[in-house]
Amino acid sequence: MQPGKNKHDFNYILGLSITSLVLLVVLTGFFYTPYDPNKMDAALRNSPPSLLHLFGTDNFGRDILSRVMKGAGTTYIIAVSIVFVGASLGTIVGALTGYFGGWFDEAIMRLNDVLTSFPSILLALVFVSVFGPGSYNIILALGIIFVPSYARVVRSEFIVLKERDFVKNAKLMGAGNFRIMFVHILPNTGRVLIPSLLIGFNNAVLAEAGLSFLGLGVQPPQASLGRMLSEAQGYLLDSPWYAIAPGVMIILTVLGFSLISGGLANEK
C-alpha cells in the first residue's frame, strides 16, 4: 500500500508537511536571507523580535532568522554527509559480512560491537580532539561512528535475502558474487534501509548540534544550529529568543523525519 493512503498514516502526512516546510526554509536560505547572516550591528545588540527582525537579533546584532536559515543549511549538509559516509561504508561492511558470513563476519562484527560499546559522543570527542575541530572532521568522526548501525541493518537483511530462491537462482545462472550482492540483494533492502537513513539523518542533526554546542564542530563566525545554541546559552534569561529559533528548528527537523520514517516503516 502507498504511504498516506489510510487513516493511520496521519503521522506520515504530518511529518511530510513539517519536513517540506523546514526544507523550504533551508533551501531558500542557500539563495536568499533577509539580512547578511554574518553582518554585525552594534546598535541592534540583543533586540527582541520585531517586524524588521522577525526572530530578533543576537549579541552581535546579527539577524537570527537569517542565521537560522543559513545555519540549518550548514547543519543539514553536514548531517547528510555524515549519513552518506556512515551508510555507504556501513552498507559495504554489512553486505560483505552478511553475504559471506564465516570467520570474516565474526571478526568484523566483533569490531563493530567494540565501536558501539563506546558512547558515540565520547568517541566523536576523542576523534575531534585528536584531529582538531571543524566541519570535515565532524563528518568523518560521526560518519565512522554511524557505520555499525548501518552495517547491522544491512547485514541482517543480507542474511535473510541470500537464502531466498531468487538469489539461489542468480547463483545458478552463474552470476558473480558482486552482481548477486548489488543487483539482487541490495535493491531489496530498501524497505529497512530507507527508514534507517531518515533516522540516521535525525541522529546526525542532533550529533552535529551536540558537538557544535560543545564548541567542537562548526567554527565561528559560520552559523550552524548547534553553534547558535551554544552562543545563546549565555543570554538565555535576557534574550530567550536567541535560543528559541534554532532550538525550534532542530525540533521540527527531527520530528518531521521521525514521523516520515515511522510512516515508511509501517508501510506493508
Binding site: D165, F166, K168, N169, L172, M173, G174, A175, P187
Partner: protein, 331 residues
C-alpha cells in the same frame, strides 16, 4: 509420442553415483555435540537424454537436496555427479551452468521483486553474453515470453503484478533463456492452483518435445509425476528405495513404501474408492539425524522381518529396468 525417440537415443545425460549430502546439525542449543543430518545417503541413478525422471517421496526425504546438489548449489559430501561424462565440481560447474537450470517451487520467492520481468528473463543472457546487441536481447526476451504463453507487454511489469501461474511461467522462461539441456523442476507446480497445474505441466511437456529437454521432476504428488515421467524414483529418508519405468511402477509397485504411497492417491470414483484397500503407514518418518539401522523403512513397514534391522537392503534389478531395495525380495 516421444517414446520412440527416447528409445532410439538412449544416451546418458546425467549420472549420479553414490551421492551423499550430509548437513551438520547441532544436538540441542547448549550442547556442543554435533551430528550429521543425512539428507541424501548414497543415491545412484542415471538420467537419459530427453527423458523425464520423476522423484517422489514425502517431505524431508531429500529429493530437493538431490536436485540442488546435482546443480552444485550444495557441495556433495561424497559421490559424484557427471553431466555428459564430465564430473561436476567447483570448477566445471562454471561452464556447465549454462546447460543446467532449475525451476523453483515457490514462484513468489524465486523472482526478484525489484526487477522487471524483461530484466529477470534477460539476466541470464547478460551473464553469459548470449545477446550481442540490445535489440537481440529484446527479441530474445519477447520470444521467450511468447514461448511460455505470456504477452510482450508483460516485459515491463514487475513480478507482483502476476498470478502464481504466470510467475511460474516467468521462472520457466528465465530457465530457458540460456537454452539448457537439463532442467531440475523442484516441485514446480506444488504451489499452484489445481486448475493452473495442468496448464504448467502441459507446457513443460510441450517445451520438452520442442527443445529436446531432459527433466528431473521432483514432486510429492504421485499422480502428477505419473503423468509427466518416463521413469520414477521413490525416495525414503535419503535413500532411493525403488526406481522403475513409470508404467511398471504404477501397475506393479514392489517396495512396501511405494505401495503405501500409491494407495494414498485419491481416486475420483467414490465406489472404487470405498472398495479400495488403503495402506495406512503407522508412525512418523524417523529423524534423518539418527535413522533406523538396516532398512530405514522397517519401523513403519508392515512386512518387517528380523533381517531388516540388521542389513541394509541394496537396490537390485528385480524385473527389467525395475529396481527395488527391499529384503522381501531376497531369494
Amino acid at each position: 509420442m516421444a517414446v520412440l525417440e527416447k528409445a532410439a537415443g538412449n544416451e546418458t545425460l546425467l549420472e549420479v553415483e553414490n551421492l551423499k549430502k550430509y548437513f551438520l546439525a547441532k544436538k540441542g542449543m547448549l550442547s556442543s555435540q554435533t551430528a550429521w543430518l543425512k539428507a541424501v545417503d548414497d543415491v545412484s541413478f542415471n538420467i537419459n537424454k530427453g527423458e523425464t525422471l520423476g522423484l517422489v517421496g514425502e517431505s524431508g526425504c531429500g529429493k530437493t537436496t538431490i536436485g540442488r546438489t546435482i546443480l552444485h548449489l550444495y557441495e556433495p559430501t561424497s559421490g559424484t555427479v557427471k553431466f555428459k561424462g564430465r564430473k561436476i565440481d567447483k570448477h566445471s560447474i562454471k561452464t556447465l551452468r549454462r546447460h543446467m537450470q532449475i525451476i523453483f517451487q515457490d514462484p513468489f520467492a524465486s523472482l526478484n521483486p525489484r526487477m522487471t520481468v524483461g530484466d529477470i528473463i534477460g539476466e541470464p543472457l547478460d551473464i553469459h553474453n548470449l545477446a550481442k546487441t540490445k535489440n537481440e536481447r529484446k527479441d530474445r526476451i519477447l520470444a521467450l515470453l511468447e514461448m511460455v504463453g505470456l504477452n510482450p507487454e508483460h516485459a515491463n511489469r514487475y513480478p507482483h503484478e502476476f498470478s502464481g501461474g504466470q510467475r511460474q511461467r516467468i521462472g520457466i522462461a528465465r530457465a530457458l533463456a540460456v537454452e539448457p539441456e537439463f532442467i531440475v523442476c523442484d516441485e514446480p507446480i506444488s504451489a499452484l492452483d489445481v486448475s493452473i497445474q495442468a496448464q504448467v505441466i502441459n507446457m513443460l511437456e510441450d517445451l520438452q518435445q520442442e527443445l529436446g529437454l531432459t527433466y528431473l521432476f521432483i514432486a510429492h504428488d504421485l499422480s502428477v509425476v505419473k503423468h509427466i515421467s518416463d521413469r520414477v524414483g521413490v525416495m525414503y529418508l535419503g535413500k532411493l528405495v525403488e526406481l522403475s519405468p513409470s508404467g511398471k511402477l504404477y501397475k506393479n509397485p514392489l517396495h512396501p513404501y511405494t505401495k503405501a504411497l500409491l494407495s494414498a492417491i485419491p481416486v475420483p470414483d467414490p465406489n472404487l474408492s470405498r472398495s479400495r484397500k488403503r495402506i495406512i503407514l503407522e508412525g512418523d518418518i524417523p529423524s534423518p539425524i539418527n535413522p533406523p539401522s538396516g532398512c530405514r523403512f522397517r519401523t513403519r513397514c508392515p512386512h518387517a522381518k528380523p533381517i531388516c534391522a540388521e542389513a541394509e537392503p541394496v537396490l537390485k534389478e528385480l524385473e527389467k529396468d525395475h529396481f527395488c531395495a527391499c529384503h522381501l525380495f531376497d531369494s
